[in-house]
Amino acid sequence: MKLDCKHIWRELSNYLEGEVSEEVRRDVEAHVAQCRHCAALLDSTHNVLVLVADERRMDLPIGFNSRLRERLEREMSISGPE
């Protein structure tokens, strides 16, 4: 089956997840090999997601852990879990 651009867009997210069947994967790859629009879309979306994943390394605010601990300890000294 040949996929048109709309189909590619619909599968794009699943494709990036590696969550498409072998057949769909081949169709997507065949399509982007000859459609530079979809190729650019796929690449740029992938790149943005790499950047987003980088956010994971963002630092916690300084003192976050100790403030949290303090607040929890205050709670714990009052009462336990209901």
Binding site: K6, W9, R10, L12, S13, N14, L16, E17, E19, R36, H37, A40, L41, D43, S44, T45, N47, V48, L49, V50, L51, V52, A53, D54, E55, R56, M58, L60, P61, F64, N65, R67, L68, R69, R71, L72, E73, E75, M76, S79, G80, P81, E82
Partner: protein, 211 residues
Amino acid sequence: MADQQGAKKEKEYRLIDSVLAGNREDFHELIAPYRRGVYLTAYDVLQVEADAEDVAQEAFLKAFRALRSFRRESQFSTWLFRIAINEARMKLRKRREVPLETLFPDEDSENSDYTPMMLKDWREIPSEALLNEETRRLVRESIAQLPEKYREVLTLRDVNGKNIAETSEILGISIGNTKVRLLRARLMLRDIFVERTQRKPRQQTPRGVSP
């Protein structure tokens, strides 16, 4: 991998039992692996450091108080993140943000397509531009510009690295809806990001909305 997961779960259950038996301070150990993730989730929903810290603290306190009601049908972290997302949503309600949702079609229906923006040259985002501080700021701002429900799904899956099943459980929506929402979130984010990187420097269009 499966064994590791199992061992982790067992350890968590042991800690939960211990907390419930009166060793309250074991709660610190129980939540230690999730402090960063819960904070990041709150931050991505709220976009303000102080608010995110409040919400994260509040979520951990709630989890502590409600620990007995954790049913052990889902993972502890799933339960915890659900509390955090709900806290963040409540905070957001209070703040009443400008509804950006109107910019984008709103249903999650399986057949409603999102059409990615057609750029004149469709150029890729140049990969050498990707690592500087400016770019990271742009990413953060672009995430901030997503409508709330897309920001949530993207934060859980793409920032926190939760899998689709966990993400759908935390959000309380079906796997199918999670995938559709995620697809849109990713395409929208890319559009917003590309649009921002191509904008002339120092130009200040309010919220980056195209004319």
